[in-house]
Amino acid sequence: MLDISPAEWTAILLSLRVAVIATLVATPFGIALAWLLARKDFWGKPVLDAVVHLPLVLPPVVTGYLLLLTFGRRGLVGGFLADHLGIVFAFRWTGAALACGVMSFPLLVRPIRLSIEAIDRRLEQAAETLGAAPYKVFFTVTLPLALPGVLAGMVLGFAKAIGEFGATITFVSNIPGETQTISSAIYSLIQTPDGDAAAGRLVIVSIVLALGALISAEWFARRATARLHGN
C-alpha cells in the first residue's frame, strides 16, 4: 500500500535502531534513578529531579548543543572516550542514540518511579523476614512488581526516541545512512521540491509508530494495576 523507497527504508530502520539502542541502554540507568528518587532522601534530590526533567523543558537545540560541547571530538567526555575507548559519538548513529536517550530519559523514568512508589513496602519487609538480602528483595519483589511500569516507561521512551529531532540534528547533523532518522528525513524532504509524497509516507509511518507505542503503554499500565492486586 505505502510505496516506500530504499532511501526511506534506510531512515526508518536507522530510526528504529537508534531508538531501540537508546531505550535498552537508558533503561538500567532509568530504573536506578527512579528507585533513588522514589525511595531515598538525600541532599540535592530536588536538583537531581529537576536535572532529569530538564530535557523535557529545555529547547532541544540547547540539549543538542550541550551534547556537542560535551561529547563532541573536542569535548571533555567525547575526547576521552574517543582517545581511550575508541567510542565516537560525533556525527555517528551512536551520537543520535545518545541524543535520543537523553531526550527520552524523563519519559522513561517517570512511570518507573510511580510504579516503585506504588509498591507496598510491607511486602519488602516480609521478604526480608524470609531471609532475602536487600539486593534480592529488589530483584525478587520490587522489580517484578514494578515491571509493568518499567515496560510502560520503555515504550514511552522508545516512542519519544523515534520522534526526536532537534537535539539529534544539532548534535550529529543530518547524514543519510548514518544520522538521518525519520524526523530529519522528513525535514529534508519538505525542503526539497517534489518531496511531499515521500514526506507524507514517512509522516504516516511516524503516526503509526507513535500510536502503537501509546496504546501498548496504556495496556502495560492496566496490567500493572491487575498485578498489584494479585489477580
Binding site: 510491607r122 511486602l123 526480608e128 523476614t129 524470609l130 525478587t140 494479585g230
Partner: protein, 220 residues
C-alpha cells in the same frame, strides 16, 4: 530461647520491656497501643532499639552497648503478619518456596509435604493470593514462614483481620503447629481466649511496660 531487654522512644510513646523465656509459645498480651507490635518488630530487626539487647537462641542479634545489630534477613526468624503479606506476583507454591530460595537451602520435599498437610493448603498451590480467602491467605503465610526454617516464629495478631468463624477455622492449625512443628513462637494478641489455648507463657504489656510475666494463669 529468647531474652529481651530493650528501650525505645517512639514519639510520645516510650517502650521499656525486659523478659526472658524458654517457653514454647510466649504470649505477648496487651491492649492495642501497649507496644506489642513495636516489641515484635524489634525482635525481628525491623525496628532498632535505642538501648538494650536481644538474644535469640543464644545469638545476640541486638546489643546497643557493643553496636551489634543483625539485619532482619540474617536473623533466621519467621514472621506472620496480621495482613498475611503474600507476594501478589507469585502463586501459592512460589510464595511457599520463597524463603528456601532466598536462604539457598536445598529442596526438602518431606518438610514441604509436612507443612502443606499440616495447614491443608495442598489444593491452593496453583492459585494467586488475590484469589484466596482471608483464612486461606493466613494459612499460606504460616506455611511460608515455616518453610524458611526459622529458629523463632513471630506471629503478630495472625487472626486479627479475620471474623469469628474464620478464627475458629485457623486456631486448630495453630495448636497443631505448636505441638508438631517444633519451632518456638512469640504470639501477639489482645484476645485472652486465643492465648489461653495457645500460649505456654505470658508477657503482659501495658503502656510500654511489662506488668506481669508467668504462666497462662496470669490472664485472669
Amino acid at each position: 530461647m529468647l531474652r529481651v531487654d530493650v528501650e525505645k522512644q517512639l514519639g510520645e510513646f516510650s517502650l521499656s520491656a525486659s523478659f526472658s523465656s524458654e517457653g514454647r509459645v510466649i504470649g505477648l498480651f496487651g491492649a492495642s497501643g501497649a507496644g506489642k507490635s513495636s516489641l515484635v518488630n524489634m525482635i525481628a530487626g525491623l525496628l532498632r532499639p535505642d538501648r538494650g539487647s536481644i538474644v535469640i537462641d543464644g545469638e545476640t542479634v541486638d546489643d546497643t552497648a557493643s553496636g551489634i545489630h543483625v539485619p532482619t534477613w540474617r536473623r533466621r526468624i519467621g514472621y506472620v503478619f496480621q495482613d498475611a503479606r503474600l507476594f501478589p506476583h507469585l502463586n501459592v507454591a512460589q510464595n511457599l518456596d520463597y524463603g528456601r530460595r532466598m536462604n539457598g537451602h536445598a529442596p526438602d520435599p518431606a518438610q514441604h509435604r509436612r507443612v502443606v498437610d499440616l495447614l491443608d493448603i495442598g489444593a491452593l498451590l496453583d492459585r494467586r493470593p488475590g484469589k484466596l480467602s482471608g483464612g486461606e491467605r493466613q494459612r499460606v503465610a504460616l506455611g511460608r514462614a515455616l518453610l524458611s526454617k526459622p529458629r523463632l516464629l513471630l506471629l503478630d495478631e495472625p487472626l486479627g483481620a479475620l471474623d469469628e468463624g474464620r478464627k475458629l477455622e485457623i486456631l486448630p492449625y495453630l495448636v497443631r503447629l505448636r505441638d508438631e512443628a517444633n519451632v518456638p513462637m512469640v504470639y501477639v494478641s489482645h484476645d485472652v481466649a486465643e492465648l489461653r489455648q495457645l500460649a505456654t507463657q505470658i508477657v503482659m504489656l501495658k503502656q510500654g511496660r511489662v506488668t506481669s510475666f508467668g504462666g497462662v494463669k496470669v490472664l485472669t
